[in-house]
Each structure stands twice: as C-alpha cells, then as structure tokens.
C-alpha cells in the first residue's frame, strides 16, 4: 500500500537547488545519506517487470519487491556473486514459491546494475510522525567496465495511511516544476542505458490497418516473426533456458503458417522455397524440444509413480539428459551453419526488398481486411468439419490433424488480431484455446508414451538397473495412458462449445463479408 513516484532532475545542481526550495515550503527532517548497489535481475522476457515485481541482488541478498503494494521478500544467499539462475537453484522457501509463480522455468539474467547515492529526508506532521519520504538519488547506471550514465532522481514515497500528505507532497513537487518520470527505478534505469523494459514478447504484436495492402501487411507480420527468431537464437546457443527454443519454434511455425497466406500475393516460388526451408528448421529442433519437455517434467513424473518405482527413473533421466546434450549441440551447430544463415538472410532480403515490377501479383494491393476475413472463415469451416467427423472410432492421427488445423486457425487469428475489436477477438481466441489445450494435452500424452516405449527397448533387462527402469517406464506409460483417456473423454464437451452458437455468432459477426 506504499506508493512511490519518481521525478527526473537535470543534474546535481538542480538537485541542490530543488532541495533548498522544497525545504522552504515543507517541514523536512535532517538529511540522511546512504549508498546502495543493486543489480536488477529478470527473465529474458521481463516477466517480473511485466507482473509488477522487481528483483534485485544487493550484496548477498536477493530482494523481491511487489511494486503494487510496496511489500518485499528477501533471501540471503550468504555468498556474494553466486547468482541463482533458476528457481530450482534456490532453497525451498516462500521466496522461491513466489518467484516461481511468476518466472516459472525461465532463467534469471542480470539486466541492469545501478549504484546510487541517496539523500533521504522525511516529511513529518505536527506530532513528529513521518508521513512521507523523499529520496534524492544520484544513480550511476551501467554494467562494470562499460560506459556509465548518471541520472538524478527524486523519489517521493508514501507511508501507509497518509495518502493526503503524499498527494500534497507530490503536488508541491509538481508545482515547483518537476514532471513525474513514469515507471519505476528498473524501467528508468534501463531507459538511461538506452534499453526499454519489457520490450520483448513472444506474441505476434503487430498493428495493422484494415485498408493496408495485403502484401505490406504480410511483410510486417513475417518481419516481426523473423525478429522473434533472431532474438532467440543466442539464448538457444548459449543454452540459457528452454523457452528460447520454444519461442523460436513457435515463430518458425507461425512463419510457415503465414506462408500459406501468400498465394496470389507473392510469387509461388517464394512460398515453395521458404516453406521447405522453415519446415526443415522446425524439424531439426523437434528432438531437442521433446527432450527439454521430458527434463522439465522430471518432478511431475516422479510424483506420478509409486515410491517403489521411482529409483528406476534416474537411469532413464540420465539417458534423456545425455541425449539432450547431444541434441542441443547439433541444433546449435545448425543455427551456426551456412545453410541456416543463408536461408535467414535470403528471407530477410526478400522481406525488405520491394519486388521487381514484373513480380507484383494482383493480390498484393488488395486491402488486408478482405484477406483476413476470408482466410479465417475458411480455417474455421475446415476445423468444424474435421471436428464433427471425430467419434469414438477416430484414430490418434485424426485428432492430430484437427490439432494442426486449430493451430493454423489460432495463428491466423493472432496475425490479424489488430484488425478486429479487441474484446471480441480475444473471446474467440479464448474459446479456441480451451479446445486446443485439450488436443495439445492429448497429443502430448501420445508422444510421451511412444518415446518411453522406445526407451524400454534400449534398456538392458538382464541387469537390475535396467529392470528397474523398465518398470518405471512401464508405470509411467500406464499413468499417461489413463490420463490420455481422461483427456479424450473431455474432447466432445470442449468441441461442442467451440462449434456452438456463441462462437458461430462471433465468427459471423467478425469475419463475414470482406
């Protein structure tokens, strides 16, 4: 319930001058000086920042602040410089649980470091009670060794239960000519370092215009997906966490899906060439992603098994970990290979260069809204048709086909989201997601069972350890099979909701006409 508001001062002189003026109008206590050094940590996609948290390392302490209510949790690591990378590296405690609920499996990275000299003053009332705090901060922003920027800030901090006094204080500050900086110390410091807080997202975040030519709109969508791929390459190679590969793969799949839109807009040869190349890139990363998922689920798998069978998982996971190392090495080499670089460079060149006059196809100039409505409609119809054909006798393959179709529909909706009223299209996506989750989980159970069957054949049944692992794998397969059946039994309910009148109404409303 404590609020904090930052104001930016031009320089150190401005600070002294301002302090003098403030003291003339407000009863402020003596100044107290302090110094602090903070290293801000966050995930690559700034999950903490986006959810309103700040995580800092101060000496050997990790401090997690909730900027919403001013509360904080801290954890002493008792050793400087040993920065944890994952939640699982921390001891079991409420701090870890809180952190995990926000960052999940992502790694913590150092984002920006600051060294501040703080002059602290209190605003007191007639009883000598502190009713607000003022901090003047000279903040040096930058990592060790690189160029440092110094910024001068004034922070006004409220005390719980003294809202009026805080408002009076910030009014005084504004009246004396300072404007609020907006944001918190993390975003302000990042800004000073020339970066932007929370600027990475794995979502398709393009803003299109209904009248925009289709060719231009597709280039924007594809360009944004290419950027997502590029941004994640480094994290994959350095093996920072599993989500770099995940985001990369989603961008590749979305690209392939967007390429199915280009008929009549870009030359047919473009589609054929790049569809094949992106399919290849996706395929080469399948193995690594599958193995990542296994390793992430170790805890869950252990829980699934009765204690007596659990020891058999260790050799199994040893194999998976070794295979994963190898798969990672291979895919990192792939990303560094000439053929990959050439594909990506060619692709970028195509997206950036306007086509030669003879290449322009008539569809390129048509307004994108027509393309969006038509293609989404078609996908929806196809998904409905496939779904209606599914009954008790349908194979895993049929469900797989429907899953892929739903994915394509989802991607189209996301590409063109900005063309439609936000509330309604989000509602469509939400409904679709309910069905997709069911299909995704079903497929997941299938893939996991198949893989475990593969491991059984590799185990040596004549050794004790091998037998234990076979038992563990067998136990998991039957658990997964039971789960899969349960998921399958929920399919019809979910599909009916997707195929129901409400969705039909929404689709008609949003996507009819052109």
């Amino acid at each position: 319930m404590e609020y904090s508001l930052y104001f930016v001062l031009e320089d150190a002189n401005a600070r002294d001058d301002f302090l003098g003026r403030l003291k003339n109008v407000l009863p402020l206590t003596e100044e107290r000086k302090a110094a602090k050094k903070q290293l801000f940590l966050d995930t690559y996609d700034h999950r903490l920042y986006k959810k309103g948290f700040l995580l800092t390392m101060e000496d050997s302490r990790l401090i997690l602040r909730d900027t919403g209510d001013g509360s904080s949790l801290s954890l002493d690591l008792h050793a400087e410089g040993c920065m944890p990378r994952f939640c699982r590296d921390l001891p079991e405690c409420p701090f870890r649980d809180n952190l995990r609920s926000v960052i999940d499996v992502r790694a913590l990275l150092p984002v920006v470091g600051i060294e501040s000299r703080v002059t602290h003053l209190n605003l007191e009332n007639e009883d000598g009670k502190t009713v607000a705090h003022i901090n003047f901060e000279d903040v040096e922003v930058g990592d060790d060794g690189t160029d440092k920027t110094v910024i001068h800030l004034l922070e006004a901090v409220s005390v719980r239960g003294y809202v009026e006094e805080f408002e009076k204080l910030t009014r005084y500050i504004s009246d004396l000519g300072l404007a609020p900086a907006g944001g918190n110390i993390f975003s302000i410091a990042l800004g000073a370092a020339g970066k932007k807080a929370g600027d990475y997202t794995s979502k398709v975040s393009v803003v299109l215009d209904t009248g925009m030519p289709s060719g231009e709109a597709l280039r924007i969508i594809l360009g944004s997906l290419l950027e997502t791929m590029r941004k994640n390459e480094d994290g994959i190679v350095k093996d920072i966490d599993t989500e770099f590969l995940h985001d990369f793969r989603v961008a590749v799949r979305r690209t392939r899906s967007a390429l199915t839109l280009i008929r009549g807009i870009f030359p047919e040869g473009v589609k054929e060439k790049f569809k094949a190349e992106f399919a290849g890139i996706g395929r080469k990363s399948n193995e690594l992603r599958d193995l990542d998922i296994y390793l992430l689920r170790r805890e869950e798998y252990t829980e699934m098994l009765p204690p007596a069978l659990r020891a058999g998982l260790d050799p199994l996971f040893d194999i998976i970990a070794r295979e994963r190392e190898e798969a990672h090495r291979e895919f990192a080499l792939e990303l560094a290979s000439d053929s990959y670089r050439r594909s990506i460079d060619d692709w970028e060149r195509f997206l950036n260069e306007p086509e030669a006059p003879g290449d322009a196809l008539p569809g390129a100039d048509a307004p994108v809204i027509g393309l969006a409505k038509l293609r989404i409609r078609k996908r929806y119809k196809k998904a409905l048709k496939l779904g209606k054909g599914i009954d008790g006798s349908s194979s895993d393959r049929d469900l797989h086909t429907l899953r892929i179709e739903c994915k394509k529909l989802r991607y189209y909706l996301e590409f063109f989201e900005s063309l439609f009223p936000a509330g309604e299209i989000k509602e469509v996506i939400r409904h679709l997601k309910v069905l997709q989750d069911n299909l995704g989980d079903y497929n997941d159970m299938h893939v996991q069972q198949e893989r475990l069957k593969g491991y059984i054949s590799k185990m040596n049944a004549s050794e004790n350890e091998g037998r234990e692992s076979i038992a563990a794998a067998g136990g998991l397969i039957s658990e997964l099979y039971m789960k899969q059946k349960e998921i399958r039994s929920e399919f019809h309910g979910r599909f009916e909701e997707f195929a129901g009148e409400e969705m039909k109404g929404l689709f008609d409303n949003l996507f009819s006409g052109n």
Binding site: R61, S74, G128, T130, G161
Partner: protein, 253 residues
C-alpha cells in the same frame, strides 16, 4: 499470520511497553508486523505518534473489511504498521455485542488481513470483558505481564480459573515478570515461588527501568531509540523466547 496478545486484567503492568517493543523487534527481523491498539487510552498509538482518522470508531472497527484496510497506518519503521485506537473503543464491548457471533467477531475481522502480516500483536485494555474474550478467541498466544506482587499474582490466578471455567486452552497462556525491582525482597520471594511451581512462565524478566518509562517522552520503542541499552537487550531476549514459542526462526532469510 500469528496473533499474539499482550493482556492483563490489571492495568499499568507494562502491557503496552511490551507490545510496542516486541512489535518493533519483530519488524526489525523483517517480519511483516501489525500492532493493533485495542485500548481506548491509545498508548501504543501515542508511542508511534499515530492518530486515528476522525471518522474512525469502535463500530467501524468491529465491522472490519475496508474500515481496517483504510485505517492501518505505517509507522516510522519498515515492516511495522499500526491500527490506532479511538476513545470510542471504551464502547467496544457494546459494539461487539451488537454483532453476530460476538465472542468471535475480532477473530473474523483479523482473518481478512491474515495474508498481509506475519505477526499481529494485540495491545489489550485491562479488565475481563467481551473484548477480552474476543482476544482469547483471536489470539494464538496470550502473554500476561506479571508484576511480582501478591495482588498481581492473585489476578493471574483468577485469569487461569476463568480460562479453565470457560474451557479456553490454558496452554496458549504465558506469563512473564514485568516491572521487576530486584532490590525488593517481596519481588524476589514471589518470583521464586511462582517459578518453582508455575507452568508457562517465561525466563526473561522485564525490570523496572527509567528508560522504559521514558518511551512516553521520546515516543519511540526503547529498542529503536536506545537499541544498545539493557532494556532493549532484555526485550530482545523476551522476543526471542516468544518467537521460539510461535515456532518461527530468527531474522528471516
């Protein structure tokens, strides 16, 4: 949230001094702490220089909800908030009596803030009343400061009888000696007698000290304005004992 009550049937035994210093010590160890002043005299509010809002009163307090949230005030110490009392708390019994399930009303009021704080410390008014019964139902542990005098010990025994009669769990009730003057032979005799026979008597004894009395002048906990003093050290020992009883460790994280 763990709720601790500083309670005594008798007034002037050092309840507020203990409540204020213990709350401060908990907050220094980074436990999120709220001290709730239940005494219409508002001594603990006074020590923290906090006045309740003009429109706050005992009926609003027992209604709870937003009334609590809006009237909690931050003290001058990190992690330490206070819910100030009003003179109208002299009618707290009546206000409680009007509520359903009136003996458990405060427990209900406090349950709404249980995720916000690690410790809630109740500074209770003297006497035995509906307010006290609410305290006994709301608190996880009740600590009674005991001046080693015959009268004081008698009232404590009456409290024990009351607990037994009303079937409150006596094991949650603890006593500690307060305002002890080691030169007085009567104090010594009573302490020896009680300690040899009594259960749930804390080891730490709070002496009669002028610096504790002076809290009213400084309007700060003695653990804050004289942290190196003997008095502060004794409260720290008391806090350590109490924290141990509540099952929490020292200086979190």
């Amino acid at each position: 949230m763990i709720t601790l009550a500083l309670y005594s049937m008798k007034g002037g035994v050092g309840k507020t001094a203990a409540a204020v210093n213990l709350a401060h010590l908990a907050s220094v160890e980074t436990y999120r702490t709220l001290i709730c002043d239940l005494d219409p005299q508002g001594a603990s509010s006074y020590y923290f220089r906090i006045k309740a809002a003009r429109n706050f009163n005992s009926s609003k307090f027992v209604k709870g909800g937003r009334n609590i949230d809006e009237n909690i005030k931050g003290t001058d110490y990190p992690n330490l908030d206070l819910l100030p009392s009003k003179l109208s708390y002299r009618n707290l019994d009546l206000a409680l009596d009007e509520m359903k399930n009136s003996k458990f009303r405060l427990r209900r009021v406090f349950s709404e803030i249980e995720h916000e704080y690690d410790y809630l410390i109740l500074d209770c008014p003297p006497g035995i009343s509906l307010v006290s019964e609410n305290v006994f139902n709301a608190a996880d542990y009740i600590f009674v400061p005991l001046i080693p005098t015959t009268l004081s010990v008698m009232t404590y025994e009456k409290l024990l009888d009351f607990f037994t009669k009303k079937e409150y769990d006596v094991s949650r009730l603890y006593a500690f000696f307060s305002m002890v003057e080691s030169k007085k032979s009567l104090h010594k005799e009573i302490i020896e007698k009680i300690e040899s026979g009594g259960r749930n008597i804390l080891r730490t004894r709070i002496p009669y000290r002028s610096d504790i009395e002076r809290m009213g002048v400084y309007r700060e906990p003695v653990t804050a304005f004289l942290p190196q003093s003997d008095s502060a050290r004794i409260y720290a020992a008391l806090w350590e004992e109490i924290r141990g009883i509540t099952g929490k460790g020292g200086a979190e994280g």
